[in-house]
């Protein structure tokens, strides 16, 4: 009853073009962000940090990145794992080569490096489309992971071939390494996620976003109105990779702390992120969050119930989860190709009219 547009008149185009045109949405988002920044840090503990909040935040960022490329620009990529690896290794090289460098800058630079690599592997998109491109992105996935495995310079010639995040401080508080308090790592990630989610929202509703969607919906017509396919696709590739690179850097520096490329950034991660945006909603920033949370937490929940609750063996549960995930993907593509975000939109549509639907 309270969620409605009526009475919320727009008197200027500026008002009509706000990020969240509906008043209640604005209030809701503001409250969530305020809660995340002001309340959660006081309640957080190790379990919530490592098992829920950090991974969901980081996967959301990766999902936003892939959504920019796939959901908005229509270019399917199976190279997400490889690009996350680039972000992780770039951050490792930066922070070990320049220990004094502020960690925020390290992460941003890593995103930048990943963007460059993204452009390089995005070049084939100018000639090929659809699943041809999807296959081409597999090249980046396998080649990059192999590269980080085989070239010792990337892991600073360490004997194990692993990379480990050294302890780095921001304003005297450890953000990486084993001594980092949960609230610090959480806030560090939260800043990136909130800032870049808003940036993504801005980009996708403006000139760039429209050029991406134009390429996605009808590339020939996009060209006819002056969108250069080269520029649109490569900008989508680079910005998408930038996000994925940041996610990879955070995944390594803050969340895992130690990384072995084949395991941490394998092809299964590429699929995971793709599934997040399919289930969450292609072409929706909100959907990226919902999808990331759903795809990460659903298996955790099932595992908790079946393994810890009923005492089933973990591998049977793992197979069951595979089945459920595969089934859900097909279900969503058949029934609701716009994902959970669309269901949410429909619910809002209904709420808007409630209690007088006719």
């Amino acid at each position: 009853m309270f969620y409605r547009e009526s009475g919320d008149f727009k008197t200027s185009y500026i008002q009509d073009q706000q990020i969240f045109p509906i008043l209640q949405d604005r209030v809701f988002v503001t409250v969530i962000i305020a809660f995340a920044f002001l309340v959660v840090p006081f309640l957080i503990n190790d379990y919530w940090e490592k098992s829920v909040l950090l991974p969901v935040l980081i996967w959301s960022l990766a999902a936003i990145g892939l959504n920019i490329l796939t959901g908005y620009c229509g270019q399917v990529s199976l190279g997400t794992g490889g690009f996350m690896a680039v972000g992780a290794y770039a951050s490792y090289k930066f922070t070990t080569a320049f220990p004094e460098l502020n960690l925020f800058i390290v992460v941003l630079l890593s995103g930048g490096v990943t963007a460059m690599v993204g452009i390089l592997f995005g070049l084939p998109s100018l000639r090929i489309k659809g699943f041809y491109l999807a296959v081409a992105t597999l090249a980046s996935q396998f080649f990059l992971v192999w590269l980080f495995n085989k070239v010792p310079w990337f892991y600073n010639y360490s004997a194990s071939g692993q990379i480990n995040a050294p302890e780095r401080l921001i304003a005297g508080i450890a953000v990486t390494g084993p001594n980092a308090p949960p609230w610090a790592t959480y806030l560090f990630c939260l800043v990136f996620v909130v800032v870049f989610a808003l940036v993504a929202k801005n980009l996708t509703r403006g000139r760039f976003g429209r050029s991406w969607m134009a390429i996605r919906d009808m590339d020939i017509a996009a060209e006819i109105i002056g969108v250069a396919p080269l520029k649109a696709k490569l900008s989508a590739f680079s910005i998408s990779s930038f996000y994925i690179g940041i996610a990879g850097a955070l995944f390594f520096l803050v969340y895992l702390g130690a990384v072995e490329p084949t395991e941490a950034f394998g092809i299964d991660k590429s699929f995971l992120v793709l599934f997040m945006i399919i289930i969450g909603g292609l072409g929706s920033i909100l959907g990226s969050f919902i999808g990331a949370a759903f795809m990460f937490l659903m298996p955790v929940l099932i595992k908790n119930i079946l393994v810890n609750g009923l005492g089933w063996s973990p591998d049977i549960v793992a197979h069951l989860i595979l089945m459920i995930v595969g089934g859900l993907i097909m279900f969503f593509l058949i029934v609701e190709p716009h994902g959970l975000a669309q269901l949410w939109r429909v619910t809002k549509e209904k709420l808007r009219l409630w209690p007088f639907p006719h």
């Binding site: 041809y132 020939i220 599934f275 069951l320 089945m323 595969g326 089934g327 097909m330 593509l333 058949i334």
Partner: protein, 333 residues
């Protein structure tokens, strides 16, 4: 001939054999793509699933035994001593046909009008689903598969090649796995049968008609849906053959489904619509990656087989997007 030269030949031969395996999987892709325009990512998992089912029948496993035990606390696993190879293979074929029918009924029918890329993603979902259900049905442990195909190195070939080396060099002869030779033979047979089938039977003609033009095929009274069931069944049988070959070679396990990924670059080389393309593409990739690993591998730390095929396909795409044998795509405005 110097041992180096002979070694290179050995690498090429082994590459050809590996290529045959890739071609077998790629063949399934091409069949489905031609008939329904669907890029079936699940083809590799179908091979895994078929192989698992075959082993299950052979050894007399009870499907879903693990799951049932978990839920009801029972201790069931086998219903008997198993059955002979032929019966097991026939039953597996039956399962693949039922599977094809179910896929058509539950999935394809509902998304037929979507964009190709959506269909592609749906088959990724299908792949995950099948992998899960395959493991639940038969267990995820590594299984050995033996349907009586000879395997192991060929001593005869070793003896023959040993004499080829020039004087004064030490050489032990070439190694070639009999199983690979058999696989190549069976692949040739399979392609021949498929070609004959599509050329000389009524169903085959209908298949080609559908591949050419869906709408036109519909207007002459061909049922698209039954054609799809047939095509998916054939692809299932091809998957079974691939599964038997790979399974006999390296055991039936999860990694079997990864060969599906290798088949993708094969398709890019060969073109999505060409059966000869799939075969030649497979051979090129097989030989290419073995030679690359042999020559360049040692310089860069090895394991280049992980990515060589994809990177080759990538370069290929830049210059000839339609593949070696695919039709040139003229985009109409």
């Amino acid at each position: 001939m110097t041992p180096d030269f002979l070694n290179t030949i050995e690498v090429i031969l082994n590459g050809l054999m590996a290529g045959v395996m890739y071609s077998l999987v790629a063949l399934g892709f091409v069949l489905i793509f031609k008939a329904s325009g669907i890029f079936n990512y699940a083809q590799g998992v179908m091979a895994l699933f078929a192989a698992l089912t075959l082993v299950g029948f052979q050894t007399g496993q009870i499907p879903f035994a693990h799951l049932v035990n978990e839920i009801f606390g029972t201790q069931i696993h086998h219903w008997g001593p198993g059955m002979n190879n032929l019966l097991a293979i026939l039953l597996t074929i039956l399962v693949m046909i039922v599977f094809a029918w179910l896929v058509e009924k539950l999935v394809l029918q509902h998304i037929v009008n979507q964009e190709p890329i959506i269909l592609f993603m749906a088959t990724i979902g299908l792949a995950f689903f099948m992998e899960g259900i395959g493991d639940l049905m038969w267990g995820a442990d590594l299984k050995t598969l033996d349907v009586g195909i000879p395997s192991g190195g060929s001593f005869w070939w070793e003896d023959v090649t040993r004499t080829w080396v020039s004087e004064g060099h030490e050489y032990y002869g070439m190694y070639i796995d009999l199983l690979d030779v058999w696989a190549a033979g069976i692949a040739v047979l399979l392609v021949t049968v498929l070609t004959l089938f599509s050329q000389y039977t009524k169903t085959g003609r209908a298949l080609r008609a559908v591949a050419d033009d869906h709408q036109a095929a519909l207007t002459v009274g061909i049922s698209l849906r039954s054609i799809w069931v047939i095509v998916w069944s054939i692809a299932g049988i091809v998957a079974l053959v691939a599964g038997i070959m790979w399974g006999s070679k390296s055991g039936v396990q999860f990694s079997l489904s990864l060969i599906a990924l290798k088949a993708l670059p094969v398709l890019i080389l060969g073109g999505f619509t060409s059966i000869p393309g799939a075969i030649i593409g497979g051979l090129i990739i097989g030989v290419g990656e073995k030679l690359f690993e042999f020559w360049i591998g040692p310089l860069v730390g090895g394991a280049t087989e992980n990515w060589f095929a994809y990177v080759l396909a990538l370069f290929f795409l830049m210059f000839r997007p339609q593949g070696l044998f695919g039709e040139r795509i003229i985009e109409r405005v």
